[in-house]
Symmetry: D2
Subunit: 360 residues, 4 copies
């Protein structure tokens, strides 16, 4: 809590928490928006003025008509999105590092009524088109012994901090389309991918074949706000009822919508991501020069996975830096750690970590 | 939005929205708590200092050890709570006016994997013990043709604005216990019931036989915050995983916990409810004296259901008052409307409505 | 078991079991068909010659193209059928006496992933069109607080042994169609209804608006065989996968199909039902003349619900007759029992029961 | 159908169908038992004399008290069994070749309400204890981001025709028990494993740590009959209701129980399996001597997976032999086929296949 650190002067206080982009506070703009939305009574369940503006704003950003459902968590966004494109007897194909299969405790399984998540191995979190085709061949449409592949889910930026090119997404989406599958994007860190690519939100999504998008804002500066965005209205049909029965229909929905509007105002979501990416690049650059470190993947977004000597890891922790150990494969010498930057990370914070590392 | 009304002086502006207690803003104390919780980074997924304090605070209020799960909506709280005490082959018995059966689009059906909600008719939202026993006799444990009654869910205050006595709850709970059922309370408006009864939170809940409680705060002044409270730890076992897979595990959970702590600080939740109830009493008293009005139920909490002549309803709406029409049974002359008061309702607001009514 | 009764001569042995039409043996024709199907190896999972013939035979009987799925139980047939027309957020409207809501332990709830069964009260098991409309008005399409009515399920013959006219079914189906609902028929005793009505199978089903039919044969002389019949191919899409994942796809499916073919051969199913109905009429006629008896419903199929004095019930049981007590409402003097006839009931059996009754 | 082959004399007619053990007819003893059970009326839903005998018979065979549920398919048996030991938020660990994950279209996912099947790779269908431990370490109990491992499912004989030793099963079960997991055996071909091992049914199951068993008989000579066997009564609690709502509670249950009793009479199930295994050994021996063939796994039960040159495969098919192609991995020269023997396979059938192969 902030009060514990009141002894430090603000200038000197180094932010040492690289655990995740979900440990940081909400942006000032988001907090102001919440306060403004709190001025008086407003209709419940999305009948409010903030929610009313949302569709037009998002349609403008994505240059495409959209149907939207604001929710509070990324898991809810993913699971609701997937439930619209995967029936209970369906299979959802995804990279085997995907959050939906590794970190949501079966949320898609639950929301779909028991669809099967099929993880496809990859080198760096980016599914290879041939790996997708290979798996699709193993799941023929006319054999009832296996779930029917109806959904492809791609994570952008990936769980390993890499970014798909729109061309690669388009290729994967085309192969899925060849089997009448719909394509979902888990965009928990879509903003980070967009600024890395330097493309438009449209190019990153529906122009590359995405039908439904989970657009994450919580990691990007919101308090708790994500969007399910349908580019294909055929899939959006009964999401209002699915959301209600999942307990994700806020009575005071304006407080979700206001957060989201604040994130989109003046490209805040992209600016926040740009800053987070730059901090990650700076950090990765420093680690690259550190003799004992080995970066596992390209740093294209705001996550770094790096192998460090055990004593380096211990030293960083002793110095107060927070981060997560990651699964270290057999035979790797040292420990894999994950370092995550955010809109809240400053140059001084990165440099402090690198400096601490260099002390060993 | 507040800005539209800047022309009125604050003193003169009458709050005319009696639609629901979920249309009103969050309390100032809640907003301050959110701002304070936003001061710096904090561990995710409930590892924060606010969540750490929560159990002790609630245990103190209820004078009993508790296991807690904060969520953002009442539907989530109810459905998560029920999923712990109703297996897929179970039956959940409740008053047939209950929110869980009438207004949650099948959330309990979803979270339990298809348990059956069995509505029991009542006069005023308060289940009669003999009606419960009658239904239990229809659902014998040894006949697999029917779901097994495993859960009793009671709504306090009821959907019709009435309040169970603890003795009545204890009697119902005892009958349920006779069939090895667990007892849930939908306490979306529990604070209103407690201040009406003048009893302690303990007397209103576990002392009367409640095993698991959905404790509502959103209608009481929070932005979006409810608590699932387990008094019986045997039921709380795997709620963390159920919550995660339902998408209700906030990464920045401190923003739920901080709201809740604010509501409990200095009895704010009870004071807010006391005010709401008082406004409802004042309103009901005025309606009682209005010749054309017929109050359908006793006004014991903050909801009033009243039959008004159609032209009275139209006149109120013309004057800017907002409220919901309710289902009007065959043969009733006039329209049933629901009027809801809250912490945000002022004496002047109530009197303005009554005065408007008297103009006809 | 038969061996216990070898002391009686076959001629004299009275069949005293009126418990249900599911206590009787399979027809000789069904047993012969099973033996014939057992002659040699045959392709698994419906690739066999018997299953290949089935569609043409049923299409001919119903004078309409059909998509078929043989299963072993009526509960499976109903639940699979309903899962195709009721999404998890859907409501299935039915008479509140319906087997799907009263006797299947939540099978439709399970197969649909938590759709809501909404029972509509009636006098005699036959839903009134206005009662349907009233309930539909309570479940508006544009209000996400309630499940969306997507399916109407009608039981023919009804659970009370009465029979809908095709005109009444058409009227109910039309009102459902007005809300874009699909119409299911639980035809566990459809043959009994058809012979009562003297209409064609087509007139009893798709010509009256039925989209999907559970066609029962187990109670009619099969060992364990029912059919899900889709008249509307739009609903049949992925039933093969739903059936597989429900464990209802027999590897040796020929043994289901052979039973069904035997039932349809030479109108056996209708002849069996005609006999069962005639036995019920004879029995009802005798009961009608018995002073202490009160028939609760018209006897139009093969089930009789009758109030008898307690000592009459006891006397029948003492004499070896088997039947079920039914729920006896408050205020009724005596006991409600159910008597069911079947293809296996003989005139002498009926007369023996009536004679025993007259002894009191 | 048999009639097509009436031109052949019975002596000369070679049975050429090696597709599966589910393409063959039911045993004569099973057919006789069905006929005997059909002699007269009998109580429905398991109240019959055959079902009454079943528990004692099975308890005697397994030398342990049991709770039993007869069903018609192996998928139903597996899914019902797993639903008792895997909650919706649970993980079921199994070999990644397991039928439950490869061939049941998500039945366990459906029956459990969305538990996760976690496939563990192996060389030959037999899970390695260390592979199990490795996966368990990846799924810690105290991390709600992943399903909780609650069930281990082992297939005996395995999908590749190999057989676990009881010692290996005991080791795996012990590691599962260390995490409070229950252990299921998919015994679709348990009889084949038992006769291979020369152990007792008890040693093959509960003495090695199995809690619940799916015991297959359909592939072993029944028409359609499998058993869910609970050795641990704690798991059997509400299976009657789960079975009912899954549509697997036969009204005329005696026709399941009678098949099963026939299979157990005079060790028919084991004798049938012994014959099937012997035929497989003979076939494997012949293939081993065939220059172009490569057996992929040891032949310990009644399934053979063999790589044959493409023209050998074509030649066998031309000669009328039936079998399934299996997935042929990249880089394998030829085609993988599966050959399955059964109680119905004769020495002459095996020799005819081998002779045909030698003609090339």
């Amino acid at each position: 809590m902030g009060s514990e650190e009141q002894g430090d002067s603000v200038v000197e206080q180094i932010r040492k928490n690289f655990s995740s982009d979900n440990v940081v506070p909400a942006c000032p703009a988001v907090m102001s928006a919440l306060a403004a939305a709190n001025a008086d009574a407003a209709p419940a369940y999305g009948g409010d003025a903030w929610t009313a503006r949302l569709s037009a704003v998002v349609a403008d950003i994505f240059d495409h008509p959209v149907t939207l459902f604001p929710v509070a968590t990324g898991t809810a966004a993913n699971a609701l999105a997937l439930a619209t494109i995967a029936p209970p007897y369906g299979a959802i194909l995804c990279d085997d590092s995907a959050h939906i299969v590794q970190s949501e405790c079966g949320a898609p399984d639950f929301f779909t009524g028991g669809a099967r998540l099929v993880g496809i191995p990859s080198q760096d979190g980016r599914m290879a088109p041939d790996a997708l085709s290979y798996m699709l061949d193993r799941l023929p449409a006319d054999d009832a012994h296996n779930p029917l592949p109806t959904a492809l889910s791609l994570t952008q930026a990936t769980e390993w901090g890499t970014v798909y090119t729109p061309a690669r997404i388009a290729e994967l989406a085309a192969r899925a389309r060849g089997r009448d599958m719909a394509v979902h994007m888990d965009g928990a860190r879509l903003a980070n991918a967009i600024v890395h690519l330097g493309c438009s939100p449209a190019e990153a999504t529906w122009k590359a074949g995405i039908d439904v998008l989970s657009l994450g804002l919580t990691k990007n500066g919101a308090m708790a706000a994500e969007l399910v965005v349908f580019f294909n209205p055929a899939h959006a049909g009964h999401v209002a009822r699915r959301r209600k029965r999942a307990g994700h229909d806020w009575s005071k929905q304006r407080f979700l919508s206001a957060q989201i509007l604040a994130c989109f105002e003046d490209d805040l979501w992209l600016n926040n991501a740009r800053h987070a990416n730059a901090m990650a690049k700076r950090l990765a650059g420093g680690l690259f020069r550190y003799p004992g470190a080995r970066l596992l993947y390209e740093t294209e977004a705001n996550e770094i996975f790096v192998v460090l000597p055990d004593r380096a890891v211990a030293h960083l922790r002793m110095a107060g830096f927070a981060f997560h150990d990651w699964h270290t494969p057999h035979g790797v010498d040292g420990t894999v750690i994950r370092l995550v930057t955010s809109y809240y990370t400053r140059i001084a914070d990165v440099d402090a970590l690198l400096e601490t590392l260099s002390e060993i």
